[in-house]
């Protein structure tokens, strides 16, 4: 996953976890059962339009709200490669890394793109959009280790030698 491209879906500021997956669907058995309801309070039908390899570009405070880990799991289950936002809420950030969902912080991209545009991400380096380059910073080492292991479950399996 050194370099990848994808079509983008554009969302606003403060996309909270109740928007990503409303509480009423949290007791469904699997994240696959929940995925069709993703983003439904804000954009019903969006989950059905997202295709594998797409990218979400959002404003500030993405993932604010509850600790529900289904939020990043569902985004991953929908096939989203990564979420690029101006900033992320703390618990969502940890949950995403622990589930192997790549997050990238960038302040400028959101206001420069339109939905449906294509962007190219070079890991720990930059995002390219219509000829403009947006540099990105790399994640701390301990987080890269979890991401590279494929998430926290796999990292713990390695620890427990299974």
């Amino acid at each position: 996953m050194e370099k990848f491209s994808g079509k983008i879906w554009v969302l606003g500021d403060d996309i909270d976890t109740d928007i990503i997956i409303p509480t009423e669907y949290l007791a469904l058995k699997t994240v696959e059962d929940m995925a069709p309801y993703a983003f439904s309070p804000l954009r019903p039908g969006l989950a059905g339009q997202i295709k594998k390899g797409d990218i979400i570009v959002a404003g500030k405070n993405f993932g604010c709200g509850s600790s529900r880990e289904q939020a990043p799991e569902i985004i991953k289950a929908l096939g989203i490669q990564c979420v690029i936002a101006k900033s992320f809420a703390r618990i969502f950030f940890r949950n995403a890394i622990n589930n192997g969902l790549l997050l990238i912080e960038n302040n400028r991209l959101r206001d420069a793109v339109s939905e449906g545009d294509e962007i190219t991400v070079t890991m720990n380096e930059a995002i390219m959009h219509k000829g403009t380059k947006y540099p990105i910073t790399s994640l701390p080492e301990n987080l890269m280790e979890i991401l590279e292991a494929g998430g926290l479950v796999k990292a713990m399996q390695k620890r427990n030698r299974i």
Binding site: A27, S66, N142
Partner: protein, 413 residues
Amino acid sequence: MGLTVIEKIIRNNVGREVKPGEIVTVNVDRVMIHDIFIPFVAAKFEEMGFQKLWDADKAVLIYDHLVPASQVDDTRHFKIGNEFVHKYGMKNIHRADGICHQLMTEAGYVKPGNIVFGTDSHTTTYGCVGAFSSGIGYTEMASILGTGTLWMKVPETIKVNITGTLPKNVMAKDIILRLIGDLGADGATYKALEFSGDTVGQMSVASRMSMSNMAVEAGAKCALFTPDDKTAEYCGITLTDKEKDLAGDSDAQYCRIINYKAEDFVPVMACPSNVDNIKPVSELEGTSIDQVFIGSCTNGRLEDLMAAAEILKGKKVAPFVKLIVTPASRKIYREAIENGTMAVLAQAGAIITHPGCGLCCGRTGGILTDGERVVATNNRNFLGRMGTSKVEIYLASPKSAAACAVAGKIVVP
């Protein structure tokens, strides 16, 4: 150089001085898991290959979001939870005693200076007794259950200093709502909040709970109050020197200091549908409402119910308004019966429910529909939180909520 409260708590835990930005591995003193996430925690724990809990006595399982069950599927969570408790020798389980964040301090699981994690964002609540506590997801919870440790970044601290006496009918809830409005919904992201000043010193632990509970709505990692005599009495302990020392040093480094005069606060509400969309109640007067909710881990304590009862005494809820009251725990429910509060609320026309989380997160009871408006004392007014995405939620203090219930519209208490 001096230290902030969070820097002291982490120093005491890891045995050396720490600086903001550093990544450290802490030893966890207590964890809380609730019914919604226990099936996922249990599955991840076994998937990770753990055979036993690092310390069964340090784990607490609380059924609250789904109690009592409203759908057949909910019972699956209790079945898996009970099996997990039995299999791994857990003793700390509450099946119908109240809301997790109330029980963790009320039942004595959290003490000043502790480091606590819970599978719920409002785990920040235990900062009310000077504990570092924060929400995490179920995968991290499973890893703590196996290892007893978690990595964290030492946060920077925002100090909030409040001095003076609050005006009548202004509650701790009005302070924290105003602060969230001033900071913005992401204004304290990754940061610790530290409260100080004589206004805070005069506050009950229950009021401090309302504030630390909602700190996460500004993105805060934790919200800390210095342990004092009130904390000691609430926790049923005598404070040690180490616990008394959990105050910010005069030369500690803060990334921001905010000063408030208590006299300047007024009753406010968080308007639809962002927690930082704060307006004085006086600007919203006359807005019609359909329902009022008094309860939740933010405002379901005895002082909240008594504050509502003070306003509702001898009055009736407007005929077209449903007032729903949910005590935060069984103990509070009993105390409110014993001191006559429940009788006042019932006579005013309140619907009184069992302790739990169902209503606050739109899971059981009190669901609203398109175009309806609710004044609620809980902590989130997100789209779809208490029914459809076209429900308007106004977050308020118990006094404001009670006054609105009587008037049938938004009014200043």
